[in-house]
């Protein structure tokens, strides 16, 4: 399966989206973002898919947004077109999403990675928001996601200076989950995806909702939501199977029902 700017494939129960604009270092244009969002939603709705992996190529995950596409815009054309609104749909994906980052993840590319739940990075990957050097700022959630990930002071320093951070720095500040050799980024992402694909899907989805809400809700409300989700989990066959398998000292088989 292929669209104009992405490749789509499925391995076992993992849905994989590969950004495919290699000549432009996978710079994101609007059609490409639309394709990514639509494919993410298609995987989210597909019962045979349990985890979604987003990857680029060896040189770049995605090296920013297509600048030419934006040069002639005015505040009003942007307001009417609202090109960043489509990104919000990425935050509604309920299945685990993993970004496998080789090479550059800059600007919109970094934002795309930050929209994923987990990030695996190559040792020589480079993350950054160079927007400030063009007289603008991140527009697809960069200031929000990075601040939540690394805290206000560090986020300000990075976004103000527009310098790129190494994978080691990103790991140190909790921006990425794991750093591995460049050759093994995809393998590591798939290793993690395969492990997640074996976990109870309903649990994963309820955990994802609860953890994300922890960033927005007051603790009392967050605890309430978690509690309701805990109770909801007991509606699943996977809960029955999980607890029975524990008692019978055998590994469980989860069906996502």
């Amino acid at each position: 399966m292929s669209k104009t700017f992405i490749h789509v494939l499925v391995e076992n129960e993992v849905g994989i989206i590969q950004l495919n604009r290699p000549k432009a270092l996978n710079a994101l244009n609007r059609k490409m973002v639309d394709e990514i969002v639509e494919q993410m939603e298609a995987f989210d709705a597909d019962n045979s898919i349990r985890v979604i992996v987003l990857k680029g190529n060896e040189r770049a995950f995605a090296a920013g947004a297509d600048i030419e596409e934006m040069m002639e815009e005015t505040p009003l054309t942007l307001e009417v077109l609202d090109p960043f609104a489509v990104w919000d749909r990425l935050s509604l994906i309920k299945k685990p999403t993993i970004a496998a980052v080789n090479g550059f993840a800059l600007g919109g590319g970094f934002e795309l990675a930050l929209h994923c739940d987990l990030i695996i990075a190559a040792r020589d990957a480079k993350f950054g928001f160079p927007e400030v050097k063009l007289g603008v700022l991140p527009g697809a959630g960069g200031t929000q996601f990075l601040t939540k990930a690394m805290g206000r002071r560090k986020a300000l320093e990075w976004i103000w200076l527009g310098e790129s951070m190494t994978a080691q720095e990103a790991e140190k500040y909790g921006v990425v989950n794991r750093v591995v050799e460049a050759e093994l980024v995809e393998e590591e992402a798939m290793r993690l995806a395969t492990r997640l694909a074996k976990q109870a899907p309903i649990s994963l989805r309820l955990i994802k909702e609860s953890v994300y809400k922890a960033e927005d809700l007051p603790i009392v409300d967050g605890k309430m939501l978690e509690r309701k989700n805990f109770y909801l989990a007991f509606a699943s066959e996977d809960q029955t199977e999980g607890m029975r398998a524990f008692k019978e000292k055998r590994p469980p088989t989860f069906k996502g029902e």
Binding site: E181, E183, L184
Partner: protein, 258 residues
């Protein structure tokens, strides 16, 4: 290749970068810093290069920073950040083996350059001189980082502070250089050593270089994980398959560096 302060030559998979300002004992200028970086980039990208040699033309290896460039109001930190750190990083990040062929005196930043290489060969009569303290400065360009890792703390302190030139014999004795080569056998000795390196499994070398240095600064569990990853990559390489096959067929392996 069009360089002003260095020569770049590729023979038998060995790229030789020769510092070429013999009348100034190959003292480093801003152009030379940049040209060394550029040459390392060229050598890294060129698949036919499997070993890199740094050496000097004429009597000296490198006499360090050209003091003509230093002015009263020079900000030494900026000077290092802009000129030397990119060069040291380029040497550290080059995945191919880098050999400093120390053909004559290596002083100051010239000694730092030799220390940054993966191997050092030294001509009899050549000297390593940490000249920094003689002019009231501290050894720089990674000197104080790498030297104690190479020869241990006590020797590194002596060399850095006392400023006594390290002869080729002493350098060999304390493990600072791999081979001590007689003057008349110099070129032949350098060629033999570097061609041997050029025929090794270059990809595996890159993994050794990256992991050995970073391992000195990591705790063992982090390191073991990186070692596993390195072995996974090496295990998938052509050279590994060739090595196994040659072993079974009781012949010498022919590594291609991939």
């Amino acid at each position: 290749m069009d360089f002003q302060t260095i020569d770049y030559e590729l023979i038998d998979q060995v790229a030789t970068i020769t510092l070429n300002r013999p009348s100034a004992y190959n003292a480093m200028t801003e152009t030379m810093n940049k040209e060394i970086i550029k040459a390392l980039k060229v050598a890294t990208k060129d698949d036919s290069v499997r070993c890199i040699v740094l050496t000097g033309s004429g009597k000296a290896f490198c006499s360090g920073q050209d003091l003509g460039d230093i002015e009263k109001d020079t900000n030494h930190a900026e000077f290092l950040r802009e000129r030397y750190h990119p060069m040291v990083r380029a040497i550290n990040q080059t995945p191919k083996p880098i050999v400093a062929a120390i053909n004559g005196t290596a002083a100051g930043a010239g000694m730092s350059l030799a220390l940054a290489a993966d191997f050092r060969l030294m001509k009899k009569g050549a000297k390593l001189v940490s000249a920094f303290m003689n002019i009231g400065l501290v050894p720089d360009s990674g000197f104080l980082y790498i030297l104690p890792r190479l020869v241990g703390y006590a020797k590194a302190m002596e060399i850095s502070v006392l400023g006594k030139p390290v002869s080729a014999e002493v350098a060999k004795e304390i493990g600072l250089v791999t081979e001590l080569i007689e003057e008349k056998e110099w070129q032949e000795g350098v060629n033999q050593f570097t061609r041997k390196l050029a025929n090794m499994p270059t990809k595996a070398f890159a993994l050794v270089k990256k992991n050995m240095m970073s391992g000195l600064n990591q705790d063992v569990d982090v390191f073991l994980e990186y070692e596993a990853q390195a072995q996974r990559i090496a295990g998938m390489s052509n050279d590994h398959l060739e090595g196994i096959q040659a072993f079974e067929e009781k012949r010498k392996p022919r590594f291609i560096g991939k």
